[in-house]
Every structure is written in structure tokens, then in C-alpha cells.
């Protein structure tokens, strides 16, 4: 299994070198001959993988959803793009759910956070009981002036996520270290 993984990753790296011009011309000529032959035989998984990746990234960029986290300015740009935005502010003292049945393209959740002195933000998503780390989202972009970060989510993903409970912990790194600054239960 490890060999299969390294084989496909090596093939992806070779394809990247070819596409990005890091492969010498003589090697590239042989490489592309082999690549076309394998493509026709459906034996170039790295090719379809990269092609799909590039096309989906382009779609996400056009929709403005390439970044899961936005600043207030990014939210304004998204709202101006023509997509239907459902905005929702997370307030642990007054919890309520956004209306996910309404007609929208993107759910934007405002998470108010005191960003004073924050150098870096990251979020960790855990199972509901906090015992299992499911996901780490490093380097969350933020604007100190916003006093909040904004999580952006496609409608279909938001609806799917609504049925799953999780615990998200937000950590901030200051000059004197890293601290937990918020927990979000969903």
C-alpha cells in the first residue's frame, strides 16, 4: 500500500515537473509520448487527478470559495459576486440555527473574536465529546480590525454538516504563546 501511494505521488510529481517546465526538453518529449499513450489506455491516474484538481480549484476560485475563512472585506467581495449569501453570527449566549432550508449559495458564519495581539489563528475540529481530533485548519486569515473571523461554506456542505455534531476550538498565537480563545459547538 505504501508503495502504491508513493508510486502515484511520484507520478504526480513527475507530471508537475513536466507541466511546470522543470523537466528537460529531451526528457519531456519522451514523457509526453508515454503520457498520451497511457491517457488513451486510461492508465494515467495522475493525469486525471491533476486535471480534476485544477478544474475544481478554478471553479472554486470563480465562486470565491477557495478560502474557507474570509475577512470582512472578503465577505463583501463574495456578496458582490452575485452569489446568494446567507449570513449568520455565532453567539454562544444566544444560540440559534441559520435557516438552511432557505435559498442560498453560500453560508457565511461570523465568529466574533477579540483579535487584539493575535499573531496567528488556527482551528481544531473535534468529535462532539472532544476526544478525537478530526481536522486542523492552520493559518486562518484575519483582519485585526474586524474583531471576527468569517467561515464560508457552500450551501450543500452546510446542509450536510448540520446533521453532524462537532466541537471546534479556536487557538490564537500571541507573542507569549498559544492559547485557546473560543469553543464552538455545532
Amino acid at each position: 500500500m505504501a508503495t502504491m501511494s508513493s508510486d502515484i505521488d511520484a507520478a504526480i510529481a513527475s507530471l508537475d515537473d513536466y507541466v511546470r517546465g522543470h523537466m528537460a526538453e529531451s526528457a519531456a518529449n519522451d514523457y509526453e509520448e508515454d503520457l498520451f499513450a497511457r491517457a488513451l489506455l486510461q492508465e494515467a491516474p495522475e493525469l486525471t487527478w491533476r486535471d480534476d484538481l485544477g478544474r475544481v480549484l478554478q471553479i472554486m476560485k470563480k465562486r470565491g470559495t477557495l478560502s474557507l475563512w474570509l475577512t470582512a472585506r472578503g465577505v463583501d467581495e463574495l456578496a458582490g459576486s452575485g452569489l446568494r449569501i446567507l449570513q449568520f453570527t455565532l453567539d454562544p449566549s444566544n444560540p440559534f440555527e441559520p435557516d438552511l432550508k432557505s435559498d442560498f449559495d453560500i453560508l457565511v458564519t461570523k465568529v466574533p473574536i477579540d483579535l487584539t495581539g493575535v499573531r496567528r489563528l488556527e482551528a481544531e475540529v473535534f468529535s462532539p465529546d472532544g476526544s478525537r481530533l478530526l481536522k486542523v485548519m492552520p493559518d486562518i486569515p484575519f483582519d485585526l480590525a474586524d474583531g471576527a473571523v468569517y467561515a464560508c461554506c457552500e450551501a450543500e456542505l452546510a446542509r450536510a454538516a448540520a446533521s453532524v455534531s462537532s466541537l471546534t476550538r479556536v487557538f490564537a498565537t500571541y507573542d507569549d504563546g498559544r492559547r485557546l480563545i473560543g469553543e464552538i459547538r455545532s
Binding site: 501511494s5 502515484i8 505521488d9 504526480i12 510529481a13 507530471l15 508537475d16 515537473d17 513536466y18 507541466v19 511546470r20 517546465g21 522543470h22 519531456a28 509526453e32 509520448e33 503520457l35 498520451f36 499513450a37 491517457a39 488513451l40 489506455l41 486510461q42 494515467a44 493525469l47 486525471t48 487527478w49 491533476r50 486535471d51 480534476d52 484538481l53 485544477g54 478544474r55 475544481v56 480549484l57 478554478q58 471553479i59 472554486m60 476560485k61 477557495l66 478560502s67 474557507l68 475563512w69 475540529v125 478525537r132 478530526l134 481536522k135 486542523v136 485548519m137 492552520p138 493559518d139 486569515p141 461554506c153 457552500e154 450543500e156 456542505l157 450536510a160 454538516a161 453532524v164 462537532s166
Partner: protein, 199 residues
């Protein structure tokens, strides 16, 4: 009608390479089976895109890929593919020749589309829909460190060359290459699994 050898297309150089096996779908395509023809195009499209990204300005890559597809369709329908086993080489030969004389072929493309009763939408429809689901990529992309995200974004969305990426991120070109290779491997592994919060 069975496929007969036609005049050797002038576009295809004799590479003198070993003859690969012939896929039945190729033979059907060369016999005029429209579904098989579409399948051949679907299979070759990612390779044509990769070729055009290496050889051309990124902005013209998609246009180039469509030009190659219509030339390939023209050759198949006109029975100009001499050796079915070399169809992939034939397609690559078209790419090389078209890249060589990139004199605008939009008029030619329009004429050929008209001649064969095709539209540009047909060419787009020959392209398979991505199998990769957007929500999975969003999930995996959000787990990347900032530098890795920027390298991927600049590579696939901005079409920046590596020297531009290196300059923007205060890295060497060699580092950009290494970061991209590592990040692609991380993304591939992540995309193979379930969405993180559904585990």
C-alpha cells in the same frame, strides 16, 4: 464500415516508437462510432491540457485544447489516422504541430465545426465532468498551511510561473517545486479519505 488505412497525415512525424496495444474503443471511434469518438476525446483531453500548459501561455491553454480536439475529430472522421495503435501519438503530433504554428485557427475551427455538424458546446461536452467533489477539496484545502495554499492557488488558479511564485513568497524556485510536490501528495492522501468531520 471497417477502418481502412488512409493517406498518412502530414502532421504526424514518425517517432519510431514501439507500437502500443490498440484499444477497442479506438477502433470503434475510427469506424465512426460517435460514442467511442467522444470517449477517445474524454481520455485524451487531460493529456492535451497538460501539453498546452507546458508549451503555451496558460491563458490560451483551454482554447488550444479545443483546437486539438476538433483537429483530432476531423482526422478520425476523414479516415486520416493511418495506424489505430498510434492514435495517441497522432494526437500528440497534432499538439506539436498546432503549438508550432499557432497562427490563429479560430476561423478554421469554425469551418470544421460547421463541416462536421458540431458546435463548441459539443467540444466542451466531450470533456468529462471532474470526479473530484468540491466539498472534499474545500475540506482538504482548508487544512493546508498558508504557504502551501498560496503555492497551489498561484499554480492552478493564477497560472503564475514558478519564478513569480518564488518572488511573491520569498522562496527559491526549487522550494516552490518541493512545496508543491509535497502539497499535492498531502492533498491526494486527504482526498482519498472521507470528509474530515464525517470520520
Amino acid at each position: 464500415m471497417s477502418h481502412e488505412v488512409a493517406a498518412r497525415p502530414r502532421e504526424v512525424p514518425d517517432e519510431g516508437l514501439a507500437v502500443p496495444p490498440v484499444d477497442p474503443v479506438v477502433l470503434r471511434a475510427l469506424d465512426g462510432d460517435v460514442d467511442a469518438e467522444r470517449e477517445v476525446c474524454r481520455r485524451l483531453m487531460p493529456a492535451i491540457r497538460a501539453f498546452s500548459h507546458r508549451r503555451l501561455r496558460p491563458a490560451s491553454a483551454e482554447d488550444f485544447a479545443q483546437d486539438v480536439l476538433v483537429l483530432l475529430l476531423e482526422a478520425m472522421r476523414a479516415r486520416r489516422v493511418q495506424e489505430p495503435a498510434r492514435l495517441a501519438s497522432f494526437a500528440l503530433g497534432l499538439c506539436k504541430n498546432l503549438a508550432r504554428d499557432r497562427a490563429r485557427s479560430s476561423e478554421r475551427r469554425r469551418d470544421l465545426l460547421q463541416m462536421y455538424g458540431l458546435t463548441e458546446d459539443d467540444l466542451v461536452s466531450f470533456d468529462a465532468l471532474p470526479e473530484l467533489r468540491r466539498e472534499k477539496l474545500e475540506d482538504c484545502y482548508s487544512q493546508l498551511a498558508d504557504r502551501a495554499r498560496q503555492v497551489i492557488r498561484a499554480t492552478f488558479c493564477e497560472d503564475d510561473v514558478d519564478s513569480e511564485i518564488a518572488s511573491a513568497l520569498a522562496m527559491t524556485e526549487a522550494n516552490v517545486r518541493v512545496v508543491r510536490h509535497r502539497t499535492l501528495a498531502v492533498l491526494r492522501t486527504c482526498l482519498e479519505g472521507p470528509i474530515s468531520w464525517l470520520r
